[in-house]
Every structure is written in C-alpha cells, then in structure tokens.
Symmetry: C2
Subunit: 147 residues, 2 copies
C-alpha cells in the first residue's frame, strides 16, 4: 500500500483491528501477533504480570488459541480510537466466546487497550493491556460482567 | 508554564506521574484525578467493566483512598513512555501498599497503562487501564505476583 492510498490513521487502525478479529476466529496466532513490535510490552489477562517481546506474546497466543476447538468469537464493542500523528491508541470491550478442547464453553467480556506507533510506514503494536476486574471482597476475577 | 520552558513531552509526562504518586500518598483524590479529561474512559482493577467520565473516575478514587488509614505507597517500576507529537502513553507496574481503616494491610502489584493527549497546551488523561491478571484454573485474581 502506498502512502497516498493509506487513508487516515484511524482507518488504518480499524483495518488492523478487523484483521485481529479474523485471526482470533481462525485461531491463527501468527497472524494475530504479526503487527507486534519486537519490543512490545504486554499486560495480559492471565499471569505473568507482564510479557516482554513479540516471541513471548506469540507463545501466549498459541497457548490460548490451542485450547479452543473450532472458531473463536472475538466481538469488539465501544471501540474508541485516539489517533495522533505518529502514535495511536485504541480501547474497547471484547467478548471472547467459543468451546475449549475439553468441552467447556467460554463466554466472557474483557477490556483491551492497544498502543501503536508508526515504524517504517507501518503501524506496530508497542503495548497491549487486556484484563477483567476483580471483586475486592472475594478476590475472584469478575468473569460474568457484561456491558 | 510557557511553551519554551516545557521541556520534552516525555519530561512533562514524568512530572505528571510524579504528581500522581504524591497525590496517592496524600490520599488526595481531587489532585489524583486533576488531569483526567472530561471524557476519560477508565478500565479499573475493580468492577465495573468500565467507567466513563472524570466524575466517575474521581468518585472511584475517593472510594479507594477513603478506605486507607495514613499514607498510601504507590511505587512505580519499569516505566515505559512512548511520546508522540500530540499523544503520549505510559505503561508501568505499580505497587500499592498501606493500611486500611479496618486494620488490614495491603501490598500488591498491578499493571497500569495511561494514554494522554494534548489539549489547550496541557496533557490530559483520556484513557487509563489498571489491572491484575487472574488464574484461569481457580478464577482468582493473582494478587501475590511481584516483578
């Protein structure tokens, strides 16, 4: 894609997000993490506290998508994009649904933040943060919330 | 502060973060949320899934800091700042420690992401995301992780 046909930063980010939804659906960890910067800092919904680097993020995606049987739903809602000149970030709620290889059904809402910057004419993800809140009384993750 | 004395975007963000650490220490919810944009989107460590607007974020900060007795520790570690021209974001681990009014001690590590943009010459926080990961087997929030 030449610069002249790229559209706005926000358009480009929406296209990248659509590709990620498709990659999750297809359980394609390589495609899902193809836009990760080599030095990405990832705060994931599951431990560790953080992961450093694209290889660690890809390994986590392979673990996740390897536990599912069949297509994985990855609905995005309340997407908000703040597009600067050279940095962009997006926040959204996402509903992950599907069936695991052990037969268990998954259907939960998470919150996601993505931060990107331009590198050699392409957008790369330099930071991602995905989580659910937890109940302070019980210490349980709040897996049954919905927008 | 005049533009000529502002320093770099990264310097400005570091100063803002230092002010937030001090505000938590002082249990000053108003100061802590003084840089929040009116339309901030907040993904907090405790439910709801999200909060919209500075008033909701301030009310949550008042609830939090009102449960503490004495100064609150808010150590920041592994701060990473990506500073664009007009948008900036920061990710870091933060250790929250102190004693609650019921006598219980708190000492835990969280992950935080802040996204800011320039508005009338000042930086405002348009998005924040704070969380801990959870254990997929037990469903418990992982409150005992440390970097």
């Amino acid at each position: 894609m030449t610069p002249a046909t790229r559209g706005t930063n926000e358009d480009q980010l929406r296209a990248l997000l659509d590709e990620r939804v498709q990659a999750v659906h297809d359980r394609d960890a390589r495609e899902l993490t193809s836009a990760c910067a080599p030095d990405i800092v990832s705060f994931d919904a599951l431990p560790l506290l953080r992961r450093l680097g694209a290889a660690a993020v890809r390994a986590r995606a392979e673990d996740w998508l390897g536990l599912d049987d069949g297509p994985v739903g990855y609905e995005m809602r309340d997407l908000r994009i703040i597009a600067g000149e050279d940095t962009v970030f997006a926040s959204f709620l996402n509903r992950v649904s599907g069936t695991m290889t052990n037969g268990a059904a998954v259907d939960m809402w998470l919150r996601s933040t993505l931060c990107l910057r331009q590198s050699d004419g392409a957008w790369v993800i330099v930071h991602e943060h995905t989580s659910v809140p937890f109940d302070a009384e019980s210490g349980q993750a709040a897996l049954d919330l919905a927008p």
